[in-house]
Symmetry: C4
Subunit: 205 residues, 4 copies
C-alpha cells in the first residue's frame, strides 16, 4: 500500500485537462461570417461549456473532499480511479454532441441527452465504487482518525448521485429541454449554495 | 476545512493547460502557401498569443501570490475558484476570435474586443471574489500570521483590476486598435517592471 | 542526484495529458448526420478509447508502483524516462489510426496493428530499461530499505511485457481481429483482477 | 519571497502539455488513403516529433537541475519563467511548420528552419536569464548551501546554448538539411551520453 499523493496528482491532472479541453468544443466562427449572429447561433455551445465545466468542477471538489478521508491506495483502488477518470475525460465528447443537437434535431437531441446523462450516471456510480472500495473491510483505505459515523454520512450523500442523474436523463423522454434545464439546475444547485448543503460534511475535512 | 494544496495543484493544471492551448490557435499555413506571406498575414495570431500568454501568466503569478496568504479551503471557496478557472480556461476562445478579426471587419473586431475584454473583467472580478471570500469573517481562510494591515493592502491592489480592464475594453468604442494596444500595454506593464510595482506586497510572501 | 518528486510530477502530467487527449480522437458527427448511425459506425473509436485509456492507466499504475521503490534520480535516468514518455505521449496517434482501419481495409488494419503493437512493445521495453537502470550498480537509485529479493521479484514481472505485447501484435498475421481482442483482453486482465495478480508486490509499497 | 514549489509545478505542467501536444502535429491519414505510403510520406512529422520531444525533454531536465540549486522565487523571477515557458509552449508550432516544409519547398524550408532555430535560441537565452537573475546579487534566490564555485560552473555550461543553437540555425544557409541534422544530433548528444557530460554538475544536485 502507498499513500494517495500521486493518485491525487494524476487525478487532478486528468480533471484539469478534461475541464480545459471543453473550450476546444466551441467552434471559432469563420472569418467571413458575421460575428454577432455566429456567436448567437452557438449559444448551446456556451451553455454546455458552463454546465459541463461546473459539473466537472463539482466532481473535482467532491473527489477532493473524498480524499480528505481516504489516506491509502493500492493497485486495485488506483484502477477503479482510472476507470472513473475514463468517464471524466470522456465528458467533452457528449458535451459537444449535445450542444450540436439542441433545438436542431429532436431524435438526435434525445439520443445526445442519453449519451450525456449516461456519462454522468456512470461517473456517479464510479464515485460510489471509489467510496465503497475505500470504506470496505472496515475502512481499510481510510485515514485512521475518521470515525465510523462520518463514513456513513459520507456514503449516504453520494448514494443519491446515480438515481438523480438517471432521473434527469429520463426526463428527456418528456422533452429533451427538461433534461437540459435539469442538468443546469443540478450544477447550479451544487455550485451556488454548496456551503450550506455541505456544512455537515465539512467538519470531516 | 482542508489546506489549499490540492486546490493549487488543480488551479496550476488549468492555468498551465489554458496557457499552452493558446498555441493551437495559431493556424499552420497550408503546405502550398508561400510560408513568408502566410506567416506575415498571421501577425495578429502571434501578437494575441504573446498578449494572452503574458496575461494568463500574470494572473497565475497573482493567484500564486494570493495563496501565499490563503492557507485554508472549503467547498464554497473551491467552487469560487472553479468559476474563476472557468474564465481562465475560456481565454483561448476570445483570443482566437479577436486575432481573426483584427483589421479585417470593424464590426466584428469591436464585438471580439468586447468578448475578450469582458472575459478579462470577469476574471478580475472573480479574483476579487476569491480574496473577499478568503478575507471575510475576519480572514477565516487566511494564514494566521498574516496581519490585518497586509490584507487591506492586498485587497486595495486587486480592486483596480475590474475598472481598468473595463476601461480598456470600452476604449474600443473610440477605435478597437486602442483597446488592442491597451491590453498589450497592460500585460507589458505587469510583465516588465513587476518587481518595482510589487515590492511592497513581496514582503507578505 | 536528486529525489524523484519532480520527475514523478512531470511523468504524471504527460500520462494525464496523453490519456485525456484520447477523447479528441473520437470524431464529433456532423450536425446533418443521423446521430444514432453515426455513433454506431464509430464503435471502433469508442472501443479503442477504452482499450488505450485502460492501457495507459495500467502503465501509469505500474510506473507509480515502480517509483515506490525508486527514490533517487539523475539526468540519465530522467532522460530514460523522457524517452519512455515519448512513447506514452505517442499512443493517441496509433490509437486513432487503428480505430480508423478496423474492418475497413485489411492491409491498412494489419499495418495499423503493427504500429499500435510496436508502440506497446517499445513502452514495455523502456519500462524494463527504467527498472534496469535504477536497479543497476547494486540498486543505486532504489530506496535503501528495499531488499534485494524484492528487486528481483519486480524485475521478473516486467520482463514478460515486451514478449507478450510482441506476441499479441504478431497474432495480427493470423487475423488483425485476433490482436484487437488480445489488446483488449490484456488491458481487461490487468484492470480487473489486478489486486490478486499484484498482491505479492503490494507489500513492497 | 516564496519557495519555488508552485513555480515548478506550473512549469512542469507547461512542459508536460507542450511535449504531449506535439503528437497532435502528426496528421492522421484519411481513411481512403493507403496507410503505408501515407505514413512513409509523413516521415518528417515523425522525425520532428522525436527531435522536438527530446529537445523539450532535455530542457525540462535542465530546468529541473537548475531548480535543485534555486530555492526561492519572487514575482519578477516568476515572470521571467513565464516568458521562458511562452517559448517552450510555442515549440509545437515551428515543429509542425518545419515538418511540413522539409524537402518540399526550399524557400519555405529555410524560413521554417529559422523559425524553429530562432525559438531554440530564445529558449536558450531565457534559460541564461533565469540563471542570471537567480544568481544575481550574490545568489539571492539560490539555496544557501550552494557554493560560489558551483554557480560559476553552472553558468558556464548554459552560456554555450544560445551560440550553439544560433550556429546550427545559420547552417541552414548552406543547406536546410544541415540544420535538420544539427538539431537532431544536438538532441541525441544530450539525450544519449548525458551522464558523462553532466557528471561534474550532478554533484551539485
Amino acid at each position: 500500500m502507498t499513500d494517495t499523493g500521486r493518485l491525487e496528482t494524476f487525478a487532478d491532472g486528468v480533471f484539469a485537462i478534461a475541464i480545459t479541453l471543453l473550450v476546444l468544443g466551441i467552434r471559432i466562427p469563420d472569418a467571413h461570417e458575421g460575428l454577432a449572429p455566429a456567436l448567437a447561433n452557438q449559444w448551446p455551445s456556451f451553455f454546455a461549456y458552463v454546465v459541463s465545466f461546473l459539473t466537472i468542477g463539482i466532481m473535482w471538489v467532491q473527489h477532493h473532499r473524498l480524499f480528505t478521508v481516504i489516506g491509502r491506495s493500492n493497485p486495485t483502488f488506483a484502477m477503479i480511479n482510472v476507470v472513473f477518470l475514463m468517464f471524466i475525460a470522456f465528458v467533452p465528447f457528449p458535451t459537444q454532441v449535445l450542444a450540436q443537437r439542441v433545438f436542431v434535431d429532436r431524435q438526435g437531441w434525445l439520443l445526445a441527452t442519453f449519451l450525456y446523462g449516461g456519462t454522468m450516471v456512470a461517473i456517479a456510480i464510479l464515485f460510489n465504487a471509489i467510496w465503497a472500495y475505500a470504506a470496505a473491510r472496515n475502512g481499510h483505505l481510510l485515514r485512521e482518525k475518521v470515525a465510523i459515523a462520518v463514513r456513513e454520512v459520507g456514503a449516504r450523500g453520494y448514494r443519491f448521485g446515480p438515481p438523480l442523474y438517471g432521473l434527469i436523463t429520463l426526463l428527456a423522454l418528456v422533452h429533451p429541454v427538461v433534461s437540459l434545464i435539469g442538468f443546469a439546475a443540478f450544477a447550479a444547485y451544487w455550485a451556488l449554495p454548496i456551503s450550506g448543503v455541505l456544512t455537515g460534511g465539512d467538519q470531516t475535512g
